[in-house]
Amino acid sequence: MATAWMIATFLALAAAGVPVCAAMGMSAFLGLALIDAPLDTFVRYMQHDVRSVPLLAIPFFILAGNVMNVFGLTRRIFEFVESLVGWMRAGLAQVTVLSSVMFGGISGSALADIAGIGVMQIDAMRKAGYRAEFAAALTLAASLLDPLIPPSIMFIIYAVMMNVSVGDLFIAGIIPGWRWRRSSRSTTMLLGKMGWETFPPPKPFNWRVTWSTFWKGLPALITPIVILRSMITGLTTPTEASVLAVIYALFLGVLYREMTWAGLREAFSSSARTTTLIMFLTGVGSVMSFVITSDQVAEQLARQLGGLTDSKWAVLSLVSLALLILGCFMETVPAMLIGIPLFGPLVVKFGIDPIHFGVVLTYVLLLGIVHPPVGLGLFAVCAISRLRIESGDLGDAEVLPGVHPVLLLLMFVPRTVDLAAFGRVY
């Protein structure tokens, strides 16, 4: 009951325009009062999760992404990918998706992708003759890849809250991310084939340009490999890998002679603000999580659902639907902070692997950033493409159908998140 009141209060306050952190905090205070816990515990629980070592990876991965953006490393990745696949049919559309995959291997944040490489992607597509609406929609859809391709901020938060390995989650995200890339590509091709979207003729392939951009961008291109390899081989933990990513990005800034004090200040300042927002939310979310756990909501839900079905797939479908609705009305991090303690223990009780659920949850909540009314990604992409969200200009409805088959695949084929099964399934 305390949980129901707490969530209802949060939704009411958030809908009234109270900042999400204050809305979460006020409802958490109410939750604590309703379960007769001393209100002093608010600060203790707020501190508890924020002080966890895996969470320390978040500021460093954000900083690495920002350093790459500020020092022009993202531009080099884009130029290389453009010369590599730009000659294919709908070449720049493919460049957009592939460059998001590569940038996803560095930043781990969809909105960092939109703010960084997204500007370049949309500008290049518009100049080449693509419709602005399609360019914006594809950039938005491609940005969803970032939190799936390791490193991922959402995976780190999930791992801390569910007490699972960050490294395992990172590895589990690779194949779904890759599937999403293929799905975006297929949808784009289908749009062209059906005549719903006209693509300008691609540029001819030029070995010399590809070779030159490859050499110029090589150190930046291997950044995702450096990060992933160090984690997979066990050389570093994800937290250490995040620090390594920052050091490497700074080193590249010096190497390319693009490092400036102003740029450095911008990267650090932007990262500090983003990190603070995430950490404050995580801290307040920990208090809400404590209330939900104390209220034994997962047990109650399991009992109720147990009377209806014993199929883990039915439970996963219901939970995914609930998360999808939650994600449409809330930002991803707050939605995770509420969704994980509510549904995490429940799905585990029904025999679903927490790593598998982590990938499904992340994917489902990510869909929220492309849907109104709260889709931050939608707002971000409209801001950089100068399209109006209210007028429904954005052609995301064309690109998004490709998302749903991947979601079904993720939900019902657990092997999709198993890297060891890569060879067998794909």
Partner: protein
């Protein structure tokens, strides 16, 4: 890591909060102003509560030390109290400005959360 809570005051100062403006869009300019004052008051109350409880917790934690480095435990709670007190002051100033109908500086919309 607890320094995050100090930096949060900067978010308040530049009004970079993440918020959902579903209801506000339906209102006229005066309604929006009133709603904004009400939400600011709520933020102020919330941050004041956190600052107060953080202060109490820090005072209690001052009785203990960390096991290895023997640092006083209050060090980990003080940034929450200071950061939230800072936000209370900032929000109070903004509230007074808003009541006097003084134009607030443009909000720096932000939020790279996903």
């Amino acid at each position: 890591m607890v320094l995050y809570f100090l930096a949060y005051a900067l978010i308040a100062k530049e009004r970079e909060y993440i918020r959902v403006e579903l209801f506000a869009r339906l209102l006229g300019p005066e309604g929006r102003r009133r709603l904004s004052i009400a939400t600011r008051l709520l933020v102020l109350v919330f941050q004041a509560m956190v600052a107060w409880f953080a202060w109490r917790t820090a005072r209690f934690a001052a009785l203990f030390e960390t096991p290895v480095l023997s640092w006083p435990e209050w060090v980990f709670y003080a940034p929450v109290a200071i950061g939230c007190a800072d936000i209370v002051i900032t929000e109070a100033i903004f509230l007074v400005w808003q009541l006097r109908r003084v134009e607030l500086p443009a909000s720096q919309s932000h939020g790279v959360l996903s």
